[in-house]
Symmetry: D2
Subunit: 112 residues, 4 copies
């Protein structure tokens, strides 16, 4: 997926509806977290094994929809604040590689 | 940004550290929502105006980092469940266009 | 409100339905955060002024319901882990009073 | 725990620091969800069994602190909007008893 294609479509969608007034970074961060929680809700009572098999259940489409909702608000948020996603990913990945070296983090989920 | 490039790098990063055992869909959904909330935390006491100016403050880099964290877990989640992001975005966008017609939703944030 | 009265009722409600199997601390923390996000959803597109007037709108009852949902999962979580709420509140309040002295925090929302 | 005792103390704490300006319902809902997510973060990579044993690990005090943080913002939110917690709990419990009858919900976490 090329994110810039979707960023443009989402911006047009918002502008056609005059939603810029609602799309402050603060409100978009809220909406993003609300959509992420709707994804969590699907999994909250499932065992790890049930969670791994979710796509072959009748909740599979809901999972796809929530993923798209999170992506939509994430792209819109980054667009409104003019954040370069590739640069942000590159910086964060470099920093994570230093904090979570293979040597120290192999098989461990401990925060560093 | 081409998401598949990052999906591959994130998968390799996880595999090198033997993190597949932690990366159940359930756990990744939790991690995604936790990162989205870290973005919310930056904005929680700000006025709408202050939130719009965040990138020119000393919190700008934290915003970029949290955006990358949310993207990382979103791509990892979609990878683990083999979700086609383009297809998910296309389906959701089509459905939103029907639910939120320009006629009914112009200037209104009401849920439909 | 005396929380112990509700803790007992919520426990009985769960046991009658044999929900103890679902009520791991992990799952209850997820459910708590999902309910908190449902409260956030009500406010996500509102101005600060609109948010202050919410109880006199047709969303007022939804706010009351979500507050009760968050309280229910918070009490259930504390019950399952045998957490003494009064002691937890006392410890946290004492620590906050030291971190956020009136001298340093008057009129400032800065995290310390 | 008698919630009204804590509601009063939390209100005084906020007023002494002139934090009423930050404590809009919208901002408090955000803060509540952020604290709930900090609780989720503690559990995100744990197995159900590890999550049940959390209080006897070095993360036990962090769990207590986060529970107190969620309770603090929940009480503050209810105070600012003048929500009667006992009444809200009574209404919600009655409604849940109807939706989740023992007959239909025994041993099932399905949403109704």
């Amino acid at each position: 997926m090329e994110t810039s294609d979707w960023t443009d479509r989402i911006r047009t969608f918002a502008e056609e509806r005059e939603w810029q007034q609602f799309h402050t970074p603060k409100n978009l961060a809220m909406a993003l977290s609300v959509e992420a929680s709707e994804l969590v809700e699907i999994f909250q009572w499932l065992t790890p094994e049930e969670s791994a098999a979710i796509m072959s259940t009748d909740r599979g489409q809901a999972v796809r929809d929530e993923v798209a909702d999170v992506m939509t608000y994430l792209l819109r948020f980054a667009d409104v604040l003019d954040i370069d996603l590739d640069a942000a990913m590159a910086a964060k990945t470099a920093s994570s590689a230093k904090r979570y070296t293979v040597e120290h983090s192999k098989g461990s989920a401990a925060k560093r």
